[in-house]
């Protein structure tokens, strides 16, 4: 009986029911927008209607207590209409210009900064870390919070040459945009998996496990008469893919896990085509609760970029203009053999021209 009533495959609710009347009316008929101040946008419709957006940063991990408070603010200032952005910011959608200031004041009181628009640093796209994931080489939320505390002025101001997008991921699965961000902070393991031979045959399919390794480091083997695997440690680059497919391949390691820093990726097709992020700091040890070395490294890169890039130049575009040697020089980051690619298409990254600055 009860089972018969069970609804499935209904899909997400139709978004139309959540659109404000001004949006329904001017849907697809917006003429232009302006950003009168950080965190505030006005979109002007062909009809002349004006929609004001107030954007606030969040920690992404939200208690229902906070969500209800946002709902209350929306009721007070914008007839209950709000949305989230693709970078975890909340946006209040106002029709009354005079509501902007009081809304901002309330958000400020609640501790949510208004900003993230235009040439600013928006919220960091990030992942679970020690709050939820079994693979994480570091925490996510804590590192992100520590970095954003320092970059806060760049969130509430629009004082950079261009948008600067930061992403964080706690392991090589890179659940987010780490592979294509202006600055990326990436957790990584640095030890081969420890094999739990006892439980391996019960928990994992050996052929799947063997084929999961990108470098072919895992081979079938027997352990005390039972089927298991062995790892050629010299071939392991600690990607953790074996651990993803098999819990008996423990990759986490409190002593050697930590963080790497990458720069120069982008997603948009504006000016330069999309680019991957490139390694700049291979390793910084985990130093909770505030990861000061990581914060310092990110702030340093932001500062050097802010000082040297031209208007509209994203981090990767700026570095392409000045050249990587100059980037390493200006930031004072040492260049090591780890920076030189040695994966599948490594040869494509070697410098194959004499065009160098001397």
């Amino acid at each position: 009986m009860a089972v018969a009533e069970r609804k499935t495959d209904i899909g997400p609710p139709d978004f139309h029911q959540f659109l404000a009347p001004i949006i329904k009316k001017n849907y697809g008929k917006w003429a232009y927008h302006e950003i009168p101040e950080p965190g505030v946008m006005v979109h002007v419709a062909e009809s002349g209607d004006k929609l004001y957006t107030v954007r606030a940063g969040t920690p992404r991990l939200l208690s229902i207590v906070t969500i209800r408070a946002f709902a209350d603010l929306a009721d007070t200032y914008c007839d209950g209409y709000l949305r989230w952005t693709s970078r975890h910011n909340v946006e209040f959608l106002l029709t009354k210009k005079e509501n902007i200031e009081p809304l901002k004041a309330d958000l400020h009181k609640m501790g949510f900064p208004v900003g993230g628009t235009g040439n600013s640093i928006s919220s960091i796209v990030h992942t679970q870390g020690w709050v939820h994931c079994h693979s994480s080489a570091t925490d996510a939320s804590g590192v992100v919070k520590s970095i954003m505390d320092e970059l806060y002025p760049h969130f509430v101001n629009m004082d950079l040459p261009a948008k600067l997008r930061i992403a964080f991921a706690c392991c090589l699965n890179m659940c987010g945009a780490v592979h294509c961000s202006d600055i990326s902070v990436l957790g990584l393991h640095r030890k081969p998996p420890r094999i739990d031979h006892e439980n391996l045959p019960k928990l994992c399919e050996i052929p799947t496990l063997v084929s999961s390794c990108p470098t072919g480091a895992i081979r079938p083997a027997t352990w005390e008469g039972d089927p298991s695997v062995e790892v050629d440690e010299s071939q392991c680059m600690f990607c953790g893919n074996c651990y993803t497919v098999c819990p008996a391949m423990q990759i986490n390691n409190a002593e050697t896990d930590g963080i790497s820093i990458w720069v120069g990726g982008k997603v948009s097709n504006a000016r330069h085509t999309p680019m991957f992020s490139k390694l700049v700091i291979p390793f910084i040890p985990n130093n909770p609760p505030r990861w000061p070395e990581v914060v310092e490294a990110v702030v340093n890169i932001v500062n050097v970029y802010a000082k040297h890039a031209r208007k509209h130049e994203r981090v990767g575009e700026w570095i392409e203009r000045i050249g990587w040697p100059q980037f390493f020089k200006l930031t004072g980051i040492p260049f090591t053999k780890y920076h030189i690619d040695d994966f599948k298409h490594a040869g494509e990254t070697y410098m194959r021209t004499t065009q160098l600055r001397h």
Binding site: R6, T8, D9, I10, P12, F15, F18, G28, W30, H33, H43, T58, P59, R60, L62, S63, I64, V65, I67, R68, A74, G80, Y81, L82, R83, W84, T85, S86, H88, L93, G111, P113, H126, T127, G129, W130, V131, H132, S135, D139, G142, K145, S146, Y152, N173, M174, A177, H179, P247, N252, N253, E255, S268, A270, R271, T273, P274, P289, K311, H345
Partner: protein, 398 residues
């Protein structure tokens, strides 16, 4: 239930500073919710030990679905019994992450009844994440959700929850209705979304223009990016206004155009539209003066992914321009042709982008019935290792 609030000196450090604190968020829920309380405890413990205390999930889920729930268990269940099981729901968000205060309260009420009271707004794929449920609550919570109009998103080797930029709801540059396309595709593929039957995950993302505000070109197996075919619309009066207000049109606009197809003589901006690659830069800088053309549609790109395991991939152009009108048959046909071929020959855990590289783009196109065109490549091959197969076949036939 762990009643006592434990001391969390390390996490307390993360309540300091101007950026809103996730620790405070957990604490807010912890005031009334024991799971949130044990979350705080276990995370503090991770901060001490510098290691995750979560274990793999195993097969948990709701009846009849193969995805939508990520199973999770504590490796310290005796110390943090309330989070011994701590699964997440991926609740499929409405297109464009639009809400009303009412619907948000409805969601909060459901999550108050069944879980930790902690969420992610949103997960990286776009779902509303309900963070931390006990195994026995999975099915009741699911019922509560569907009764209020929500369903689960994807996980595992299925269609993943599609997402879309704000599009025509607020953005003047949307070249097609991203929200509708996302909603339509999501509803069309409910079965593929809930019952994993692919070699690996398959993600759709919809951006209204080449700015790509949902990062689809980097993060989706099928990336649909709005674009126009005709001329950029110019309001010369407004261009002059920008110039008067301090925009250095020569340096900020013309010289930054990737194809150098613009010229500014101090009073008039000319664009050689045949050489414009629709990068958006000039429009981005002068939104009042320039607008995308009127003949609008989308470019379809296939196969982006994160690095695991063959290395990260950006998506590849498959269709330079497609009109985007409901019921979006062209896109669906393309997706289904891809699934048929990849579904049959893709290896376990091989994303479609990696599969294409393995079988070769040329062969892949042939199999899914798309003609090769030069727009699909940055440049033709540089190596002379050509498989002249037709030749062989012809002659074998003869």
């Amino acid at each position: 239930m762990s009643e006592k609030k434990r001391a969390t000196p390390l996490l307390d450090e993360l309540k300091k500073g101007p950026w809103p604190s996730f620790v405070r968020e957990i604490e807010k829920s912890a005031e009334t919710n024991a799971m949130a309380r044990d979350t705080l405890g276990q995370v503090e413990r991770s901060y001490e030990d510098k290691i995750s205390h979560w274990k793999h999930g195993g097969l948990v889920g709701v009846m009849g679905y193969g995805g939508g729930i990520i199973g999770r268990y504590s490796d310290l269940p005796e110390e943090y019994p309330e989070v011994a099981a701590f699964h997440t729901y991926r609740v499929n968000q409405p297109s464009g992450w639009f809400y009303t205060s009412d619907i948000l309260r409805t969601l909060c009420d459901i999550w108050e009844r069944h879980g930790s009271g902690l969420t992610n707004m949103h997960g990286s794929t776009g779902d509303i994440i309900f963070l931390g449920s006990k195994t026995e609550e999975l099915e009741p919570c699911f019922r509560d959700l569907t009764e209020h109009g929500f369903d689960l998103g994807g996980s595992g080797s299925d269609v993943r929850t599609p997402s879309a930029c704000v599009g025509p709801a607020r953005c003047e540059w949307a070249c097609y209705d991203t929200l509708d396309a996302c909603n339509d595709i999501t509803h069309t593929y409910q079965d593929e979304l809930h019952r994993p039957a692919f070699p690996y995950k398959f993600k759709f993302k919809f951006s209204g223009c080449p700015n790509d505000c949902v990062a689809s070109i980097a993060r989706s197996d099928m990336s649909v990016i709005g674009v126009w075919k005709d001329n950029i619309q110019i309001d010369q009066e407004k261009v002059r206004e920008y110039a008067a207000n301090g925009t250095d049109i020569e340096h900020e606009v013309c010289q930054m155009c990737p194809t150098q197809c613009m010229a500014w003589d101090g009073t008039k901006l000319t664009i050689d539209n045949a050489n414009c690659v629709k990068c958006m830069h000039c429009i981005n800088v002068m939104p009042k003066a320039l607008r995308p053309g009127k003949e609008r549609g989308a470019t379809i790109l296939i196969g982006a992914k994160a690095p695991i395991i063959g290395g990260a991939l950006l998506a590849t152009v498959f269709v330079p321009f497609l009109e985007m009108k409901p019921p979006y048959d062209d896109i669906k046909e393309l997706a289904e042709a891809i699934w048929d071929f990849w579904g049959e020959y893709g290896k376990n855990r091989e994303r479609v982008g990696e599969f294409i590289q393995r079988v070769g783009l040329g062969n892949f196109l042939e199999e899914i019935g798309l003609d090769p065109i030069p727009e699909m490549v940055a440049h033709p091959r540089t190596n002379p290792y050509i498989f002249f197969e037709d030749e062989l076949e012809e002659e074998e036939d003869a």
